[in-house]
C-alpha cells in the first residue's frame, strides 16, 4: 500500500488502445487528465457531478462518467474516448444518422450520447426504442428534445445490423 499527499504520481493505463503514463494527483478527475494532459478534448464537461453524461467514456468496456472517476482508479485499465471510436463502423453509422436526423445541435452532449449509444449497441445490437431510451437516459441534451437523438440511434442500429 502506498500513501501520498500533495504529490503527483505516475499512473499508467491504456487510452484508445495506446499505453499512456501520466503524472497526476491520484484524485484528479479522469476527465481533466484526458482533456488537459492527453489533449483528448472530445470528452466534454457538463455538470461535473454525474448527472449529464457529457463526459461519458468507456472503462474496461463499461460506460462511466469520467468526472466521477479519480484517475488513480484507472491504473491498468483500458479507457476509450470518442476519439478512439474512429475505426468502429457503428461510430460511422451514428455520425451519419446524428447528422441526418438532427441529433446534434450545439454538440456538447454529442460525444457522450455517442459513447452511450455504442455501449448500448455493445450490450444490445438490436435495441428496442425502450432500450435506447434507457441506454441514453443518463445523458442530457438541452437542444434537441431527444426525439432526433433516439431516432438517430435506432436508425444507426438498423444500418449496422443489416451490414
Amino acid at each position: 500500500m502506498s500513501t501520498y499527499r500533495g504529490a503527483k504520481r505516475e499512473i499508467s493505463f491504456t487510452v484508445n488502445g495506446e499505453r499512456r503514463t501520466v503524472r497526476a494527483y491520484p484524485i484528479e478527475r479522469l476527465l481533466d487528465v484526458l482533456r488537459q494532459q492527453l489533449s483528448l478534448t472530445g470528452t466534454k464537461e457538463g455538470c461535473g457531478e454525474g448527472e449529464c453524461g457529457a463526459c461519458s467514456v468507456l472503462i474496461d468496456n463499461e460506460l462511466v462518467d469520467s468526472c466521477l472517476v479519480p484517475v488513480a482508479q484507472v491504473e491498468g485499465a483500458s479507457v476509450v474516448t470518442i476519439e478512439g471510436l474512429a475505426a468502429d463502423t457503428r461510430f460511422h453509422a451514428l455520425r451519419d444518422t446524428f447528422l441526418e436526423c438532427g441529433g446534434a445541435q450545439c454538440g456538447i452532449c454529442t460525444p457522450g450520447m455517442i459513447l452511450a449509444a455504442i455501449d448500448l449497441l455493445n450490450r444490445k445490437p438490436i435495441p428496442t426504442m425502450e432500450d435506447i431510451r434507457e441506454g441514453l437516459s443518463g445523458n442530457l441534451c438541452r437542444c434537441t428534445g431527444y426525439v432526433q437523438i433516439l431516432e438517430a440511434v435506432a436508425e444507426a442500429a438498423r444500418r449496422t445490423v443489416i451490414r
Binding site: 501520498y4 494527483y25 491520484p26 457531478e49 454525474g50 462511466v64 466521477l68 482508479q73 452511450a116 443518463g138
Partner: protein
C-alpha cells in the same frame, strides 16, 4: 468551489484485510471511496468532509454475489449493474432489481454500489426501501472480525448509522422466501432516470383466506431515513382488503410519514403521493388475490 486535488491523500487498498487494517489503525481518519458517485460529487462541491480517501473500488471480496445456504449474499461493492444482471436477484428480489434499474443512468449504475447507497444514507436512496421490505441483514467487517446487524436497525437518524469508524459494510444478505408475495414498487420523481425521488415505495404483501397475512411497506424521501410503516402494516394484517380497511391504511400511512418541504417537492404533495402509493399497493394486492 471545487476542491484542490493536491490536498487529498488517496490510498488504494489491495484487499479487504488491508482496508480494515488501515481503518483500525487510524479510525475516523479515512473515508472509504468505491465508485465515487457520491464522494466525487462532494469533492466537486468542495463539501467533502475528509482529506484522506481509501479506495475500496473493485475489491473482489466486496464484489461477489453468492448463494450461501439459505441466503444470498451481495458483496457491498457490487454495482447496481451487478445487481440488475443477477438472475437470482431478479427472480427472488424484484423490488431490489427494480430499484437498481431506476438509480441514475447506466453510467451511474456501473459505478455506484449497494454498500455505498447504504452508507451515504440519503433518505431518498433508491435501494433502501427494498432492503427494508426484504428485511436484509448486513455483515459489517473490521480488523477484529465480522458482525451481523439487521438493516431495520442500521439507520438511526439522518446520516446516523450503526457503523463504527473502523468498520466497513462487507455484504448485504437476503433470504429468498418472497416468491409468493405480491411486490409493488414505484419511484415518483421529475424524471425516471437521473432524478432523486420525491417519494419512493417498496412493498410486499400476502393474502390468505381473504385476509392480509403479511404486509411490509417501506418508503423513501418522507422522513430523515427510509422508513417502514409499522402502524399501517398493523392496520392491514388480519383484515379483509375492503374499502374501510383501505381507507384506514391510507390515513395511517400519511400519519406515519414525516415529509418535509425541500428543493424537490413539498410536504403536502408528498403526503398526497404517500396516500396514493399505499392505495395503489393495496389495489394491486387485492387484484392479485382475486386472480387466485
Amino acid at each position: 468551489m471545487r476542491s484542490d486535488p493536491s490536498e487529498y491523500e488517496f490510498v488504494i487498498a489491495a484487499s479487504l484485510r488491508e482496508a480494515v487494517q488501515l481503518l483500525s489503525e487510524q479510525p475516523k481518519a479515512w473515508m472509504p471511496i468505491a465508485g465515487g458517485t457520491d464522494v466525487m460529487v462532494q469533492l466537486a462541491w468542495g463539501a467533502l468532509r475528509a482529506d484522506r480517501l481509501l479506495s475500496i473500488w473493485n475489491l473482489p471480496e466486496l464484489r461477489a454475489i453468492e448463494v450461501l445456504g439459505e441466503e444470498i449474499r451481495i458483496g457491498a461493492g457490487s454495482t447496481y449493474t451487478d445487481v440488475r444482471r443477477h438472475q437470482i436477484i431478479a427472480r427472488e428480489f424484484p423490488l431490489l432489481s427494480l430499484a437498481a434499474s431506476w438509480t441514475g443512468g447506466i453510467a451511474n449504475q456501473n459505478r455506484g454500489t449497494l454498500g455505498g447507497n447504504i452508507v451515504n444514507a440519503s433518505p431518498a436512496a433508491d435501494s433502501l426501501p427494498a432492503l427494508l421490505a426484504y428485511e436484509a441483514e448486513l455483515i459489517l467487517a473490521s480488523a477484529e472480525g465480522e458482525r451481523r446487524v439487521a438493516y431495520l436497525d442500521f439507520h438511526k437518524d439522518y446520516k446516523k448509522m450503526e457503523l463504527g469508524p473502523a468498520e466497513l459494510i462487507r455484504a448485504i444478505c437476503l433470504k429468498p422466501r418472497f416468491r409468493k408475495y405480491v411486490s409493488y414498487a414505484r419511484k415518483v420523481g421529475a424524471r425516471s432516470a437521473q432524478a432523486i425521488a420525491k417519494v419512493s415505495i417498496a412493498a410486499l404483501g400476502r393474502v390468505e383466506k381473504d385476509k392480509v397475512a403479511e404486509a411490509r411497506i417501506a418508503l423513501g424521501s418522507v422522513a430523515p431515513i427510509p422508513i417502514r410503516l409499522r402502524e399501517t402494516e398493523r392496520v392491514l394484517v388480519g383484515s379483509r382488503l375492503d374499502a374501510q380497511t383501505m381507507a384506514r391504511a391510507r390515513k395511517m400511512a400519511v400519519a406515519e410519514s414525516r415529509p418535509i418541504d425541500d428543493i424537490r417537492s413539498t410536504a403536502r404533495y408528498r403526503a398526497a403521493v404517500v396516500e396514493n402509493l399505499v392505495a395503489e399497493f393495496l389495489e394491486t394486492l387485492a387484484a392479485a388475490q382475486s386472480d387466485e
